[in-house]
């Protein structure tokens, strides 16, 4: 068959289903009737109980939980690889009441975690969903261990959390969660399909979601690759499709200042088309303009890189960040992400160009930084034996830098940061070199916004606020849990807890009969 024949055949198939938009691209005007007409085929190429779209924390948790609930499960991902942003993230999970906290004598409580997240979220959070997430962290942490995840044997203090409650995989990567989950999923017979892109929902005449039209053999990002097929879902479709942090055009519609000058920590597939398909069938978008910048990244490398890990485990808890022009601190290095990113981005010259601040600590502060050697190899993290040398590398005034370090050490001795009110549990005296440093500038990291769901992870309709039958969503694809700013390590918590919630509830649904073609 020729390519033209194939494409025309595909397009005809979609047009017949009434979803012109999916095939012809978003630049084409679509009539109201084309959107409203439910896409109702009589039969499907393949049918399972549950289809999960996306294979990050939420998707894999949903898939495993649904499978363990007895459902047949297919996971589709448009990318050539599984795991989305999750498998390239830092692998840190906030857990209230973990056994590691108890061993370390750290008192924590679900309510304290809720309070911390509400504070960072500036009160905009969906409190019911927030409570569901925090309440599920301790049990989900154990569940992950049971599925092969290995945590480092200590608890960390991430910015915005009032205490140490962050666990991190031994790999310092979300891959330490995703790879074990994929392994178990395959062993348990979850059908894992990469290079399969969701095109549109298929609904029955009552509007229930009964499947998906997909593009199988899709080669990201080539739009017309692959073949159109129809997959049926007897119990439901779980959307674990993440955010749109790397969709510059769509994120600029929400926040015009987040233009292409800003890098992102996200993988190339973090785009908006799945969100748009949910909205097309009535999902309610919440907080889409709440887009988070990660305050720990470096302009001297791409994406999350090596500096982000260095900052979260070394500089921020055990070091300081200074303005290179003054050698002085200018914010609380353990504030929430929004406060820190906003502070860093005030450092500009008179032409509004960035003046990258420098974060640094000493060898003791960097002792646990696994990416230190890699960062130095790629010249992102630099080493200096003395503060004078550090000042010279970054063009800072040495006398002022030394005075700042002396003032900081006084604050550490008094356990009180009078200037910026930083929590001092993890602060150390910065008296001896060698020093390790990186330049810093925020990058687009996480979409707090997404579709509105209830505590059963059902996607709620824009008009009725009632569940859209057969449609569930979990993880970053949902909106409202984090309000205006997500705290670090709370995306893993959210993804795993809400993914499992969706998987458990969807698998328990009574399935409908669907015909194979």
């Amino acid at each position: 068959m020729s390519e033209k024949q194939e494409l025309n055949h595909s397009r005809r198939a979609i047009l017949k289903g009434g979803m012109a938009m999916a095939a012809t691209g978003l630049g084409v005007a679509v009539t109201g009737s084309a959107i409203a007409a439910p896409n109702t085929p009589e039969s499907f190429d393949e049918v399972v109980d549950v289809i999960v779209v996306g294979s990050g924390f939420a998707g894999m948790s949903a898939a495993l939980q649904a499978r363990e609930g007895g459902a047949s499960v297919m996971v589709i991902d448009k990318m050539p690889v599984f795991g989305g942003n999750s498998t390239i993230n830092g692998g840190a999970m906030a857990v209230a009441g973990s056994s590691l906290q108890k061993e370390a004598g750290i008192q924590d409580d679900v309510n304290v975690m809720v309070e911390d997240m509400l504070k960072a979220g500036r009160g905009m959070n969906d409190v019911e969903m927030l409570k569901l997430v925090c309440d599920g962290t301790a049990e989900s942490c154990e569940w992950l261990i049971g599925h092969g995840v290995k945590w480092k044997p200590f608890v960390q203090h991430f910015g915005g959390h009032s205490i140490q409650r962050v666990l991190q995989t031994v790999e310092s990567s979300g891959a330490g969660i995703i790879r074990p989950m994929i392994k178990v999923a395959r062993e348990q017979g979850v059908d894992m399909r990469n290079q399969v892109r969701m095109e549109s929902f298929i609904q029955d005449d009552k509007g229930r979601v009964i499947g998906l039209e997909v593009r199988e053999g899709y080669y990201f990002p080539k739009e017309k690759t692959g073949k159109i097929r129809r997959f049926g879902a007897r119990k439901g479709v779980i959307m674990a499709t993440g955010g749109f942090g790397n969709d510059v055009k769509y994120r600029m519609m929400q926040m015009p200042e987040l233009n292409s000058d800003l890098d992102s920590t996200n993988h190339a597939g973090a785009t908006s088309e799945a969100l748009k398909q949910m909205m097309l069938i009535g999902a309610n978008p919440i907080h889409l303009d709440q887009i988070q910048l990660g305050p720990w990244s470096s302009p001297d490398e791409k994406g999350f890189g090596t500096a982000s890990q260095f900052a979260t485990i070394a500089t921020y808890p055990h070091g300081i960040v200074v303005d290179v022009r003054t050698g002085e601190r200018f914010f609380n290095e353990l504030a929430d992400r929004k406060a820190r990113a906003d502070a860093i981005m005030t450092r500009r010259d008179d032409k509004h160009q960035p003046v990258y601040p420098v974060g640094f600590t000493n060898a003791a502060g960097a002792a646990k930084a696994q990416t230190l050697a890699w960062g130095m190899k790629y010249n992102v993290i630099k080493k200096a034996d003395t503060l004078e040398e550090l000042a010279e590398i970054y063009g800072m005034p040495a006398d002022k830098l030394k005075a700042q370090v002396a003032r900081w050490n006084e604050a550490v001795k008094n356990r009180d940061d009078k200037e910026f009110g930083r929590p001092m549990q993890e602060a150390i005296l910065l008296e001896e070199g060698p020093w390790y440093a990186a330049r810093m500038w925020p990058k687009v990291h996480y979409c707090m916004g997404g579709v509105r769901v209830n505590t059963r992870s059902e996607v709620l309709h824009l008009v009725t606020d009632k569940p859209i039958a057969g449609l569930y969503a979990a993880g970053e694809a949902t909106g409202g849990i984090h309000g205006a700013s997500r705290l670090g390590a709370c995306a893993v918590a959210e993804g795993v807890v809400t993914g499992r919630n969706a998987g458990r509830i969807c698998a328990a649904e009574k399935g409908i009969n669907l015909k194979l073609s």
């Binding site: 690889v81 891959a175 053999g217 994406g303 999350f304």
Partner: protein
């Protein structure tokens, strides 16, 4: 529709050519050239239409499974920063990434990892 099809068929009729006209890589020329001296598109593309990116299983016929390839490029010490990590068995993706996202036959190959990383693989045939 008919016009487009006939144009395409004409192209197909004219298509068979020497290996270099297709930009086939030097090291693949011999194995991809048929007895008639023409490139055997089917060696990689099978029955699929022109310009369809081949399924990575086509590579396996000669190169072995992803696990075999991963073993061939295994690092003595995966934590040794002096050596770039094994691209065929990544921390993030295991052996899941299909060959065709890095290795291109008709254009320059690229390293998928380097969307984020800065790995140098000087021995990779581009």
């Amino acid at each position: 529709m008919f016009k487009k099809l006939s144009a395409l068929m004409l192209m197909l009729a004219l298509a068979p050519a020497a290996a270099n006209a297709f930009g086939v890589k030097d090291y693949h020329k011999e194995v991809m050239t048929g007895d008639n001296g023409k490139v055997e598109c089917a060696a990689c593309h099978g029955d699929a239409k022109r310009k369809t990116i081949p399924d990575a299983t086509a590579c396996e016929a000669c190169h072995g499974t992803p696990a075999d390839v991963a073993e061939m490029t295994k690092r003595a010490d995966p934590h040794d920063i002096k050596v770039e990590p094994n691209p065929h068995d990544s921390l993030h993706y295991g052996t899941d990434l299909p060959c065709t996202y890095c290795h291109m036959e008709h254009k320059e190959s690229k390293v998928y990892c380097n969307q984020c990383h800065e790995f140098t693989y000087p021995d990779m045939k581009r």
